[in-house]
Symmetry: C2
Subunit: 209 residues, 2 copies
């Protein structure tokens, strides 16, 4: 399989964590978002959305959207499971992941912040990113505060942790003070695991950090 | 079960379609987004994110995020299935739904357009909405053009159609010319089905259309 990604793309980072947890090796291809590589005709032929990541299967079929890719990997290699067993618990974990993957990250990604900057300038864009991240993480914290720890949901990392950890990296880049108690507990638990550590941006071959 | 929603919220609309397809009856409670009902303390106690929809189960547990809720309903009542059987096909359908639920709708929902309006005025907000919708639907069309019809994926409606149809309603509200060929074919197929028709905003008790 070939993973098209970028070291700093939090959506690509999520997929790298899942691949690590599952022990699945892939070939990686890197596209520099800031230079616009993701809008090259070659890449648009892979993913018409021009976003990262995309996973190209051995038969040539292409999967896009990080949560869909991760659930595919979870169905392909069921252990360790990235979702709990009970439907209501699965929905809780998926809902947490979607708070970040729907309502936080796409609203403050590079493309959208470029548009905000064009309308209101650099300070407005930075404030936009922080507001979006803080609102999302406030809600995330309120929900996991009522769930068993130390991970977002119980004693194993799940799709919710996979979404959370890269978003925290992004939060810090934008100067957000990451002090939510249960979120910090979940992050610390994740960082005990090699798959989370080795997926970090600064560990990637295309990193310029 | 209690569904907290709003007639015009496309995320609530998705859940209404899924409930209809599954034949699940729920009590509905309505929150007027434009009046800010979703930010009342009572509702924030249900969903700390202050977004619609939320599904309150009979035991009091709360599910949020429309795609997570719909997959819960699909696991609870497996027929008719809202996802194909093969993992790669499931990922394709989930990816399509996420194009809309992650990269289109949250970027042009009421809250975000209010922020854009504050930065750049009403015309900028309307243009922002149209650009976001057209980019997403262009990619959606490019992907489903290669998939079997007449629905987004094959001969039965799936999670992808459930995400698509409300977004098309939104597209038309913003003056987008909806002319994508495969998308129109999928929408026409959906509108043959009562669950899609009865979930439309103008059919809801709280509608002022």
């Amino acid at each position: 399989m070939i993973l098209h990604g970028y070291f700093r793309s939090t959506a690509s980072w999520r997929v790298r964590i899942a691949l690590g947890l599952k022990g699945i090796a892939v070939e990686q291809r890197f596209h520099h978002l800031r230079k616009g590589d993701q809008r090259s005709p070659d890449y648009l032929a892979v993913n018409p959305q021009g976003l990262l990541p995309a996973l190209v299967l051995d038969d040539g079929r292409v999967l896009t959207q990080s949560l869909a890719i991760i659930e595919y990997l979870d169905e392909l290699v069921p252990s360790p499971a990235l979702l709990p067993k009970e439907p209501v618990d699965r929905a809780t974990v998926r809902g947490l992941a979607q708070i970040i993957a729907c309502d936080v990250h796409p609203v403050q990604n590079l493309k959208i912040l470029d548009r905000v900057r064009a309308l209101g300038g650099a300070d407005a864009a930075a404030q936009w990113a922080r507001t979006t991240i803080v609102e999302g993480l406030d809600a995330f914290e309120a929900i996991i505060a009522k769930l068993p720890g130390p991970f977002c949901f119980g004693e194993q990392p799940s799709l919710a942790d996979i979404a959370l950890v890269p978003q925290l990296g992004n939060a810090r880049r934008f100067g957000v003070d990451v002090q939510w108690q249960r979120i910090m507990e979940a992050e610390q638990s994740c960082l005990q695991i090699e798959a989370f550590r080795s997926a970090a941006p600064e560990q990637q071959p295309d990193s310029d950090i």
